[in-house]
Every structure is written in structure tokens, then in C-alpha cells.
């Protein structure tokens, strides 16, 4: 009973403890090294500023914009990443042909593409959504590709012996079997989607948390800057855990989820 309970509490406790340790370390670091408050303000100062930032309703509008852009970009990346990943995972010659373009599209410095984005998508949210999707796409796509290729040969033969169509094989075997890979890709993807949005907002725009970063940078307001960063981190965590929660819901049968529930071992 007590073991059971402590086992359930442990993760929360460890989260709290490690976060506490982090803030203490930060505070100690600031005090010991005497680093300028402008480079790294002490946590308490940031906390104060966080209160100011959080109580400003405008902040929530900005956060909402960032969240919407990120989720939009992520969803686009998810759909296109799965679709492209499946196709490239199954058809080797298309993969070979497209790979250079895909890798290239990833390493192109986004700043060079901004004017094109603006021409195509305007100044609004769309260009940030696109940026976000571009960054999230790659990890999802590549993981799906791995997943599709890692389908167990024996299970594949079952589907072949059942005369399953491509779509049926996908739906009942590949999709399910690829799920754990998709989710690993999604966990990376959602984080990169946020990075993409922020970069997009940073490179041009007047909305979103990325814009608030630019603004606090320009105002040389270090505590507010770090407060916004904390907000961003919280947003990132929320989205990350949303994806993570989906995983536990969708693939309870997979070792990576099932194995953790344990008790039967």
C-alpha cells in the first residue's frame, strides 16, 4: 500500500525537488559569480517580473497567438510528416530522390526565406505556422519512416497472406506498429514546433511570445525577458505533456508505455 502510494508520488516529488534544486542552483550561481543582473537576473527578481507579466491580460493574448501558431504548425507537420514518412518509408526510389531536397530544406537558414514567406503568406500568423511546421516536420517524418520500415516481417506476412490492400495493411499493421515511433517523433516535433514559432515571431511580427522576447530584449529588461522565457517554457511543457498524454492513451500496449506500468515483472 505505502509502497504503491510512494511509487505514485515519487515522480511528482522528484519533479518538484529537481525544479527546486534548479532554482536554488540558479540563485547560488548568480550570488557566487556575481554575474550582472542584466545577464542573468536572480530567480526572485524574475519571479516578481513574472507576476507583472502574468497579470497583464495582453500577455495572454500573445501566449494564445503563439499557442495557436504552434499547434497549427505542429498539426500540419504531423499530417504531412506521417504521410511523407509512410511514402518514403515504403518506396525507396522516391526516398532517394527526395532526400536531398528535404535535408536541404531543413538546413536553409530561415532568415533567407522570410521575404518569400511574406510574399506567399503575408505578415500574419501563417508564416509563423509554416515556420513551425517546417521545423517539426523533419523529426516526425524521419521517425515515421523508421517505423514503417521496422514493421515485423512476420506480421507483415500475415497481412499479405490475408490479401490485405495497401490501405488495410497501413491501417491495421503499419499505423499501429509505427505509433510508438510517431509519438517519439511527435514529442520532438512539438518542441521544435515551438522553436519554429518563436523564431518566426522573432524574425518578424508584432504578436506572440517571440515578439515579447524581442520587445523585452530591446527594452533591455532582463527580468521581463526571463519571465517571458519561463512562460514560454511552461507553454512548451503543456504542449509536450499533451502529446505525451496522447501517447499513453493511444498506445497502451507498447513496451515503452506498458513497461512502465509494470507490477507484472
Amino acid at each position: 500500500m505505502t509502497r504503491e502510494r510512494s511509487r505514485r508520488l515519487l515522480p511528482w516529488l522528484s519533479t518538484a525537488l529537481i525544479l527546486l534544486a534548479f532554482f536554488v542552483a540558479w540563485d547560488v550561481f548568480v550570488r557566487v559569480t556575481g554575474v550582472s543582473e542584466l545577464v542573468l537576473p536572480p530567480p526572485l527578481t524574475v519571479a516578481e517580473s513574472l507576476v507583472t507579466v502574468v497579470t497583464d491580460p495582453l500577455t495572454w493574448q500573445h501566449a494564445q497567438v503563439t499557442a495557436i501558431e504552434t499547434i497549427g504548425g505542429f498539426l500540419i507537420a504531423l499530417v504531412s510528416g506521417v504521410a511523407v514518412g509512410v511514402v518514403l518509408g515504403k518506396v525507396a526510389w522516391i526516398e532517394r530522390g527526395l532526400r536531398p531536397l528535404i535535408v536541404a530544406s531543413q538546413v536553409v537558414p530561415k532568415v533567407a526565406l522570410i521575404p518569400l514567406f511574406v510574399i506567399w503568406f503575408g505578415f500574419g500568423m501563417t508564416s509563423k505556422v509554416v515556420m513551425s511546421a517546417m521545423l517539426a516536420f523533419f523529426p516526425i517524418m524521419l521517425n515515421v519512416q523508421l517505423g514503417v520500415r521496422s514493421v515485423e516481417a512476420g506480421q507483415r506476412e500475415v497481412m499479405r497472406s490475408l490479401n490485405a490492400s495497401r490501405w488495410q495493411t497501413f491501417r491495421h499493421l503499419e499505423l499501429k506498429s509505427t505509433m510508438p515511433y510517431v509519438f517519439a517523433g511527435m514529442e520532438v516535433g512539438i518542441v521544435f514546433a515551438i522553436i519554429g514559432t518563436i523564431v518566426g515571431e522573432y524574425l518578424g511580427g508584432s504578436e506572440g511570445l517571440g515578439y515579447l522576447v524581442v520587445r523585452t530584449l530591446n527594452e533591455l529588461n532582463a527580468p521581463a525577458l526571463f519571465a517571458v522565457i519561463i512562460l514560454l517554457s511552461v507553454l512548451g511543457l503543456l504542449l509536450y505533456f499533451a502529446v505525451h498524454g496522447l501517447k499513453r492513451f493511444f498506445i497502451p500496449w507498447h513496451e515503452s508505455v506498458y513497461g512502465l506500468q509494470d507490477g507484472n515483472r
Binding site: S36, L38, P115, F123, G204, S206, R215, L217, N218, L225
Partner: protein, 318 residues
């Protein structure tokens, strides 16, 4: 005629700003919006921030927006070196809008000679700030190579790099300079405008826009002119600050002292110290001198007809 202002007749215009909107450097545009000066001329202006001058130019030339404000240096190099179809239709400031920040204790930068053998922080390699540093040195007969450049981002903590001696100083806008001096008494400022002639702020359009959309541009300049005149007339700056605050809120504006100090400095640069002179007019001689300065420092190709790169005809007749 301000009647048919916008291309689509609705009067919607996008102004590109390579500066973030939360800076007093952008006061003329902000006031023209907040004080209704654009509206008076039938315009509905959107101020659109973009990242840096090159992007502002790219966006302007791709026809998405008809007008932007840039440094004269950037315009001249762009036209001279790569033949971009840009036209200056008004000069806002008569002095530099940049300042070099240094530490009074560590290494004062009082004259160009103090830069020799030092590292200067610039926001981006080959950008305006970088060129201004070169011009300061070149104008003093010093080889610009004598000062190393280091790209540093503008963050609250950048000044500590100066305090630590990793940089001798770095280049910021007048606005940021005001905040910095308020934050830290050790901050010293070097005004490159004292030696550099070409670091002015100009309103720029593309040749296409000039041909097709001159009405809008004219109305835009009229709005700016009205806003500037209002500031010049507002000796105490109370009214200006009040009007700006009806619509905007940012650190330098929210603080009375910093706001007025900055605005006073800015106002001086717009009028060139002589309130009787017409605002916004591009001075033929100063323009030519700026070009000469650039070519002499090797920062722009020489031999072009700089006189054809500006056009005062869209300005309201005084």
C-alpha cells in the same frame, strides 16, 4: 491629391520598419498613427516590423509595401553596388541615430584613435553599424581594419561584455543608448554623427511604387510632416507624449524622463538644430557629401550619379 491614396482606394498602406515598433526612434510614424495625422490624409497605415534593413528592402522591392525608412548608408550602397531600384523621398534625421556605447571606467572611446586595436560589437556583420564604425575610422584617416568587429546580439546583458573588457564598446540606437545610460552610470556614449555625414535616416520607396502609387506616398509624407511639425511645435513635449501613450506603451515611452530626453535628442536630429529649415527635405549637398564619404572609405562603388537617387517632389510644399 490625398483622395485616391491607396492603390485599392481604401487608403490602406503598409509601412515597413526595420526597427521594432517599441522605440521612440519611430516616433514620427507612431505619432502620425496615434495623432490621426495619416487619417487626415485619407490613409490607414499599418506599421509592420521586419528583421533588419535587408529584409525591409527585399520586402519593399517585392511590392508588398510601398514605403520604408532606412539608413542612408544602406540605400546608397544598395543602389550603387547592386543597382536596386530605390528612391529616397525624404530625409528624416540630419544626424546619426546610432551611438557607440562604452565603459567610462574601463576604456573610454572619446575619439577615433581610441578605437585602434579594439573590438567593437555590432549587431550584424556588414550591416549599417559595421559601416558606421568603418566610416568613423576612415574619416579620421585610420584603416578600418585596425578595429575588429564582433557580432553581438542586443540583449540586456551585452553591456557586461564591455565591462568585462571583451568588447571596447558596441553600437546601439539612440533609444537603447538612453535606456543604457539610465541603467548604468558607467555607460559612456560616442556619437558617430560628429564625424560621419552619411548616417542619416531616409524614407525610401521603390521606383515602381513611385510610378504607380505616388498619391499614396505623397499622403504618407504629408502625414509624417504633420506629425513632425506637431512635435516641433510642442515645446514641452507633453502633448506628444500624451498622444503617443493613448495608443502605445513601452519602456522608454512610459518613463517621462527618458521619453522627453530621447525625444529632445531626436527632435534636434530631425531639424538639424535649425527649426526654421523645412523638414524632410533631402539636401542635395549633404546627400552628395554622404556618397563621397562612402566611396572614399571604399564602402560603395564610386562614379554613380547619386543626385538621381532622391526625389523631393512628394513632400508637401512649404
Amino acid at each position: 491629391g490625398s483622395g485616391d491614396a491607396g492603390a485599392d482606394g481604401s487608403g490602406k498602406v503598409t509601412f515597413l520598419s526595420y526597427l521594432p515598433l517599441e522605440t521612440l526612434s519611430l516616433t514620427p510614424e507612431l505619432l502620425a498613427v496615434a495623432g490621426g495625422h495619416f487619417k487626415k490624409h485619407g490613409l490607414d497605415v499599418t506599421l509592420q516590423p521586419v528583421k533588419g534593413s535587408p529584409q525591409a528592402m527585399q520586402t519593399l522591392l517585392s511590392g508588398i509595401a510601398p514605403i520604408t525608412r532606412l539608413g542612408q548608408i544602406d540605400v546608397m550602397t544598395a543602389v550603387a553596388d547592386t543597382g536596386q531600384p530605390l528612391v529616397t523621398i525624404g530625409t528624416l534625421s540630419r544626424g546619426s541615430s546610432l551611438r557607440f556605447v562604452y565603459s567610462k571606467k574601463r576604456h573610454p572611446l572619446a575619439k577615433p584613435e581610441d578605437f585602434v586595436g579594439q573590438t567593437m560589437g555590432v549587431p550584424s556583420e556588414g550591416g549599417t553599424s559595421d559601416k558606421v564604425v568603418s566610416l568613423v575610422l576612415a574619416n579620421a584617416g585610420i584603416d578600418p581594419e585596425q578595429t575588429k568587429r564582433q557580432v553581438v546580439g542586443l540583449t540586456p546583458g551585452t553591456f557586461s561584455l564591455v565591462e568585462q573588457g571583451r568588447l571596447a564598446g558596441y553600437v546601439v540606437s539612440v533609444d537603447t543608448a538612453t535606456i543604457l545610460t539610465a541603467q548604468n552610470p558607467d555607460v559612456g556614449l560616442f556619437n558617430p554623427g560628429e564625424t560621419v555625414k552619411s548616417d542619416l535616416q531616409v524614407y525610401v520607396t521603390s521606383k515602381d511604387a513611385l510610378k504607380n502609387d505616388s498619391g499614396t506616398l505623397q499622403a504618407f509624407m504629408a502625414g509624417i510632416d504633420d506629425a513632425l511639425s506637431a512635435i516641433v511645435a510642442d515645446e514641452s513635449l507633453d502633448e506628444t507624449v500624451k498622444q503617443l501613450r493613448t495608443r502605445y506603451s513601452f519602456a522608454t515611452l512610459d518613463d517621462d524622463k527618458i521619453a522627453k530626453a530621447s525625444l529632445t535628442l531626436l527632435r534636434e536630429s530631425w531639424t538639424g538644430g535649425d527649426p526654421s529649415k523645412p523638414l524632410l527635405v533631402t539636401d542635395q549637398a549633404a546627400w552628395a557629401a554622404g556618397y563621397t564619404e562612402l566611396t572614399a572609405a571604399g564602402l560603395a562603388k564610386s562614379g554613380a550619379d547619386a543626385g538621381s537617387w532622391f526625389d523631393n517632389s512628394l513632400l508637401p510644399k512649404a
